[in-house]
């Protein structure tokens, strides 16, 4: 064990962890909107809309994240037409390719989490609203969405942690996130164990924080 290397690589890895956090927060931000939108589409009574949302979540949950990020990064770049369009300014950057892949992926999972939360809302809550003469629209925005979000907190916390670990795949498209920098240090020191232990420790610490924030939110917004 090379303790000196572990200590000297810590600052570099910590600043790389900021890139990881940026990727994570951007993906979660866009993913939450995508998830909410598709959860609402999923409970739609229109068969076409419903099927469209179902196929989206089926495809993105049914294929590996690595494949998705490769298709978006290396795959789309093969299409001549795309490279001459305005989309290329976004797709040219590995950072945005990673965020698009992550957001679409976490969006699919989030839509399923929110959908099941919508469907398990007790009918009594909605009926109570109706009996007070509140309009359907307000019931949806002020009762169903907040209750569904609360219901899905534990599952969503899990999704955040999974996504946080998923961001390590950003290193496969040249981004210098926590895993990317760890690999870079290994490429000059040839000591994978030491460096990956430190990187793993940082991931674990981030999980610890996310876990506790979710636990706090669960308690704060508990129904009791």
């Amino acid at each position: 064990m090379d303790l000196e290397l572990m200590i000297s690589s810590l600052p570099k890895l910590l600043s790389a962890a900021i890139v990881t956090l940026k990727l994570l927060s951007a993906s979660l931000f866009f993913g939450l909107f995508i998830g909410l939108l598709f959860a609402i589409l999923r409970i739609s009574k229109n068969v076409l809309i419903n099927k469209f949302a179902y196929v989206y979540s089926y495809v993105f949950r049914g294929t590996p994240l690595l494949v998705q990020i490769f298709i978006i990064y290396f795959g789309l770049a093969q299409i001549e037409y795309l490279r001459t369009s305005f989309l290329w300014t976004i797709l040219k950057e590995p950072y945005w390719c990673a965020i698009i892949a992550f957001a679409l992926n976490t969006g699919a999972y989030t839509s399923e989490i929110l959908r099941s939360a919508f469907q398990t809302i007790k009918p009594g809550i909605i009926e109570a609203g109706k009996s007070l003469g509140i309009s359907n629209k307000i019931i949806f925005y002020k009762i169903q969405i907040p209750v569904a979000i609360r219901q899905s907190l534990p599952a969503y916390g899990n999704e955040i942690i999974l996504m946080m670990k998923g961001t390590s795949l950003a290193s496969t498209v040249t981004l210098m996130d926590l895993t990317g920098v760890a690999k870079y240090i290994i490429s000059t020191t040839f000591k994978p164990i030491e460096v990956f232990i430190v990187a793993g420790g940082i991931y674990l610490f981030m999980t610890f924080i996310i876990h506790n924030v979710i636990k706090y939110l669960e308690k704060k917004y508990s129904f009791q």
């Binding site: 290396f74 770049a77 093969q78 490279r83 040219k92 590995p94 496969t172 040249t174 690999k183 870079y184 290994i186 490429s187 000059t188 040839f190 000591k191 994978p192």
Partner: protein, 275 residues
């Protein structure tokens, strides 16, 4: 003996066999993604200059060799942790690597070069045709300055953990943005897609790609050797494994004398890259 005991013993015996590599059964690690040094055919079989050379060297050493595949960025750690006994993966002999592993004498050498897409502003740069970084002359420094000016702030792609990355990181070419890739294939893809302004690798890696893909990748600037680019490509061997090191050195001598290395080099590179 009951079946349970039997199974346990078989498992233990097989573990024992894996750990104790017989001196005459050696495993050689290669990347299989760096043509023409080493690559894979459509069926997934390892092919290329080093695969054929490894088989020839093993014949001379009278060792039983198996060639195994290993991702480039884990090559040296895999050798150190005994996943295999020797590296033949277009790995240049550098001082940095020598801190961790030993190298046999070099068996082949070829130069590195920058590549850009046809039509790039930096196509056909006016520089020396070749520079050696071991002892930089005034003319060579002028060429480096030209390159630094031409590529200032540009993004250059390289495969990770290579001599090419070390050279760009050293700052001899000034301030460029270095983007690292897991394989040379990915560097080529992004160069062709226009995500990076230039790429640096073995010159043959680009000419090989241009020929096979039909993409307009062209070499530019000088060819590089010496300094960060090391002293030829050799067989990487664990420190302390001196018997294998001597075997390889003797076999390379013999293969060179018999013209085997030259013949294979001409076959795969199109020129005599042997040394």
């Amino acid at each position: 003996m009951n079946i349970f005991k039997k199974t346990i013993l078989t498992v233990l015996a097989s573990l024992f066999l894996v750990v104790n590599t017989n001196a005459d059964n050696i495993k050689i690690g290669t990347e299989g993604a760096y043509p023409p040094w080493n690559s894979k055919d459509a069926a997934g079989n390892l092919i290329g200059f080093e695969v054929e050379l490894a088989n020839e060297l093993c014949k001379i050493m009278k060792h039983n060799c198996t060639i195994v595949e290993q991702d480039w960025d884990g090559m040296i750690p895999a050798l150190v942790s005994r996943k295999f006994d020797a590296i033949m993966a277009g790995m240049s002999i550098t001082d940095e690597r020598k801190k961790t592993i030993n190298f046999s004498q070099g068996y082949a050498d070829e130069v590195a070069s920058l590549a850009v897409m046809k039509g790039s502003k930096n196509e056909g740069l006016k520089t020396l045709s070749a520079i050696n970084l071991t002892d930089i002359s005034a003319d060579e420094q002028a060429t480096l300055d030209t390159l630094a000016k031409a590529f200032k702030g540009k993004t250059i792609g390289v495969q990770t953990a290579t001599i090419h990355q070390n050279f760009l990181d050293s700052g001899l070419m000034g301030k460029v943005k270095v983007r690292t890739y897991k394989t040379q294939d990915e560097v080529n893809l992004d160069l062709a897609a226009g995500r990076i302004d230039a790429a640096l690798a073995a010159a043959v890696a680009f000419t090989d790609y241009a020929e096979k893909s039909g993409k307009a990748v062209v070499l530019t600037g000088p060819t590089f050797a010496g300094g960060d680019f090391g002293n030829g490509v050799g067989v990487g061997i664990r420190k302390g494994d001196s018997k294998l090191l001597n075997d390889f050195n003797a076999a390379i001598d013999k293969a060179r004398d018999e013209g085997i290395i030259s013949r294979l080099a001409i076959k795969h590179f199109g020129f005599d890259a042997s040394m």
